[in-house]
Symmetry: none
Subunit: 188 residues, 4 copies
């Protein structure tokens, strides 16, 4: 029982590293297997296909992101503070999780999303609820929670990409400004 979880997790973890470094198509199942220390068949025991494995990995990342985003976000905060906190949380998580960040970017701009089936969804319901609530109380633009959050997350993503590109971290003051801007972009 413990062993299974451990194997499955090991595979996901290896896949994350390989894909974030080389992309989906430089990550053959055979290599994923050997690097994970399991047989090819074992991967197929845990995931129906390579596609399914990638989706599962995305889901796992998305879950972690959502949890991280909500850290310290509660009803006592003002709307601006609430979203600025989320902005900074997301920025922080992306910055500390370069592999996940790279993987998520690749996944979201690949035909995996728009192509087959629907969008697997990025933020969890609790996160989306914060956006919904904002719209409901008239603080945010009247758009679907999915759209608002995508815009919001896109700005964070652009910022992190820029930092990585520049190879230089923005200061806390600069980040606070951008977070404020992020809120401004979605508020009414």
């Amino acid at each position: 029982m413990k062993k299974q979880v451990s194997r499955r997790d090991k595979i996901l973890q290896t896949a994350l590293r390989m894909i974030s470094e080389g992309g989906f198509h430089n990550s053959p199942m055979s290599e994923l297997a050997s690097r994970s220390g399991v047989a090819v068949g074992t991967i197929y025991h845990h995931f129906e296909s390579k596609d399914a494995l990638i989706r599962a990995l995305y889901a796992a990342c998305a879950e972690q992101v959502s949890a991280a985003v909500l850290q310290g976000v509660d009803e006592k905060l003002s709307n601006s503070k609430r979203f600025e906190t989320m902005w900074l949380n997301l920025h922080s998580w992306y910055s500390r999780h370069a592999l996940e960040f790279s993987f998520i970017r690749q996944f979201e701009s690949s035909p995996f999303v728009s192509g087959k089936g629907h969008d697997p969804g990025f933020f969890s319901q609790p996160v989306l609820d914060v956006f919904r609530e904002g719209v409901k109380v008239g603080k945010l633009r009247k758009l679907k929670a999915g759209a608002l959050s995508a815009l919001f997350a896109g700005m964070v993503s652009s910022t992190v990409t820029m930092e990585l590109r520049e190879g230089k971290k923005l200061s806390g003051k600069e980040l606070a400004e951008l977070a404020s801007m992020g809120y401004a972009a979605i508020r009414r």
Copy 2:
């Protein structure tokens, strides 16, 4: 002479459609050839490899984008007006060029960019110069033009993605606000 250009363009155009719809790896050279009405070998007369073809396509897109972005941008404009105009230009071009937009997104988040060789660069020198000038005169954050423009473009990209996702276009007023926010994000 005319024939060659026409063939090369036809190939690029077909590749754009195929890749934007199916991704790099659902776009085999053989199918690209047949859909373009040429032989496989012909593609290799015009492009050294599939990689080279994709880079050429990106370069062609980037060139068009840069030209579009600079429409109506001149020294007479204030800094805010200048960048807001560029923001709206870019938004407008992306909106009118869904295939190119999809292709560019895929290209930029794939290992093509960070992986092999250098970043092919997105904006042309003239566009980058506008950012450089902004930094020089103390109006923009002290970051490299490439970084600033990436952040700027990322916001537009997020906005368009959001609109596509939502399936609803933002109003001119909303866009103006976001453009203003875009400038705010990079200004000092």
Copy 3:
């Protein structure tokens, strides 16, 4: 004890259905296991290998066929009556056992027979004895019982195949004619 028999039979029964519908190679052990409601390992407790399982299934079918063929066949019957009865018995059994018929046909024309090991044999000794006796008393062609019976059974098989193809059953009179013809084909 009862449980074991029941399990073994359930496996054979499921295998019969799967193979007759999809062929040997569309009948993986794992699916056979799940459809039979047992674990893969359990199949290997009852059968040494997939090959052995298939041979066992063939043997089981052959046994049933032989028993069915001899219904109402005794020494009092004339030779013609004897073989015509056998012909009709076989026809009747095949018609009522479509899955077995399909499986037997596949088995017999596959490399299972001529390939590995010996022919598992189709008719039981008692059935073959009837043919041997016919040869002995000079009523049948001087051929081995196996050959004669194969010719005989082949004609029934062809007839059933034809009926299945046509989707229309032959009348009792037509069958009687063909049965008579079957005897004529092997008699001296």
Copy 4:
């Protein structure tokens, strides 16, 4: 041009030998390629899939069979003579083409036929027309040409199988008797 035909034919010829000896599933494409002296990809250049290759092979065999069956069959012959000739022609061809015979038997009793799509058809229209004409003039049983010919061919097949099993050829006299019986089985 000449080369292509030759390659395609070589592949079919090798496939015939391999499949007749080892069955569909002991005939991997890689081995088929090497034994044919071509690359794997070349097979796929000529045939869409292994399935398609097998179907093409069957079609090629069926075409040859049909041509052989009609040798010496013309309107001047009586009905009995006509069908007896066809019986003997088919018997002769099967006897001289052991590989094709084995392949055809395997193909026809595999899920290739009843499974996917329709029956690819065995006899050519000209052959079927002979049966149709027989029905039309009231000499043959009122069954579809496909069914009648299947019964007819099935008897020949059974006979050849028996001879192969026995390892002894039937005499010309015996064959003539069986041919006569074959006609008797389908006549009205």
